[in-house]
Amino acid sequence: MNNPREETKYVPQPATNLIPERELGKQLILEAHNLGIDFGGLTAVEGFDLSVSPTEIIGLIGPNGAGKTTVFNLLSKVYQPTRGTILMNGRDTMGMSTAQMNRAGVARTFQNIRLFNNLTVEDNIKLGLHNHIKYGMLSGILRLPNYWKQEKEAKERVTELLSIFSMTHMAPFRAGALPYGAQRRLEIIRALATGPKVLLLDEPAAGMNPSETSELMENIVKVRDTFQIAVVLIEHDMNLVMGICEGICVLNFGKIIAKGTPSEIQNNPVVIEAYLGRQKEDGQNAES
């Protein structure tokens, strides 16, 4: 659904680090070079390059089956890439597991929400904080003072994090019992709790209505500003992508077909043909 009035509300911050012409000499947080993966002889992603600077919001778009989620799976090491390198903070991440990648600063959400459904909202977020809560198995069993102190701090942090999305009242409920929108938000909070430097959001607005989507847009920008982190998001809602992303990367058939600012992408004939459709002559926003 198109809602042009909403767009004016989100004036994107000046694009500091446009892809591909970014300012030289600026530290990059996440870099992917020539990334590729094959599944049983079938190439799913090939020659994928991406540079993310510390507080940038980047959109990853493309038709269904273009390999967007596969790119996320590579960046978070759910799949090990067949080719190419991923640098995190300038350091090679070869051989790292998903968990190690998270500790290095990559957190993500999933297209089909993956919460710990039988645990409470609070425990879900405490799991996000897992590597920031420091006490051993023995302190946990024997309930040593450290246990009480750390758990209390964790609980405070949980409340703090929940308040970002105004969900504090939901803390004691089972995550699986939350409504859909709240589950999506909880997943983002859980990812944030891990203290990432890069947040990967896989279709955060899927299944949301326009007002929820615009709230989400606001929240993503707020999260970026508060936590000073980079956000890479996959999204089909062009309103959202064009509204908040500073750089956009378009994938088709596992390859990058275009990169640039939202306005560049909107005017790129290759992209329009592959993805946005030939509706430019209507003078409409490409997304309709």
Binding site: S76, F116, K126, L127, H130, G140, I141, A177
Partner: protein, 355 residues
Amino acid sequence: MRKLQKSTRESIFTYAIVIVAFLATQGLMLSGNISSALTGQLVPICAYVVMAVSLNLTVGVLGELSLGHASFMSVGAFSGVTACISLANVIPSDPIRLVVGMVIGAICAGAAGFLIGIPVLRLNGDYLAIVTLAFGEIIKNLITCLSVGVDSRGLHFSFLTSSSMLNLEEGGTVIINGPMGIAGIPKLSTFTAGFILVVVTLFIVMNLVKSRAGRAIMALRDNRIAAESVGIPVTKYKLMAFVTSAALAGAAGALYAMNFSTIVATKFNFSTSILILVYVVLGGLGNIWGTVIAATVLTILPEMLRGFNDYRMLLYAIVLIIVMLATNNSRLKLIPAWLKKTLGSKTGKESISNE
């Protein structure tokens, strides 16, 4: 709003059940209102409760099906009894020797759990289950082939040969005698010792579940990929759950063995593993007090059915099937929602509007 730490209420309730049951049984024993057959069952009940609670850590909390839990009991039983017999002169006090036996049983079983866990936990689902079954059979087989003796120079081991090959000195004793197992076990186990082990087990398992490590273990159960994505090391926590579970089973094994004068390795076979699994499933996956009750009731049940003579095991089977059908059939809404939820049914989608 169902606030105040539901889990805290649950653990208080669990401890209360166990303590009340212990005191009631003690009272009945003092007043002589308990049959001798049941008195003989008291230590095994405690051992089975510990077995079931520890298996619930693997199956209910970690979410991996283990079909070889009895093998850890076996390792604990044989190592614990060996320790108790060989330390007879060093530690004269029976209760201390029993504690040492249980600790050694727990350590050996935990070590076995660690060794088995490293390969096993790389697998998933039914494949993991079949490998635990395989390890259970292997351990049973290995212990059947093992002979151990003790003399003044220490312990002697021999494998696949008869106990006469142990080269024992004059005055040395054979402890484990190959397929014949161990005979002449000192009866060190008491109901009180069993009760204490149950309480310790409950303390360890329930506190572990409600700590950072326990949350991580449950996260692996609910969604492994999501758990990895928030930085939880899979192998570490899977192993932690598996080894803790094995160690507690080892302590239970030592307790169990020292209640009888003889034990053989074939006692701890696949059927025993399955029996314990039945307690866990009927008690409710992840539900500790349910497991305690299920293990107690189902251990006593065959005794209670003794009046039916030959038919008792048949009745046991029928009861088991009917309970499973009644608690899991979506058409027969026989049971309250809480039982359904504890059994891990997917239908627990209650809305949160009741806040």
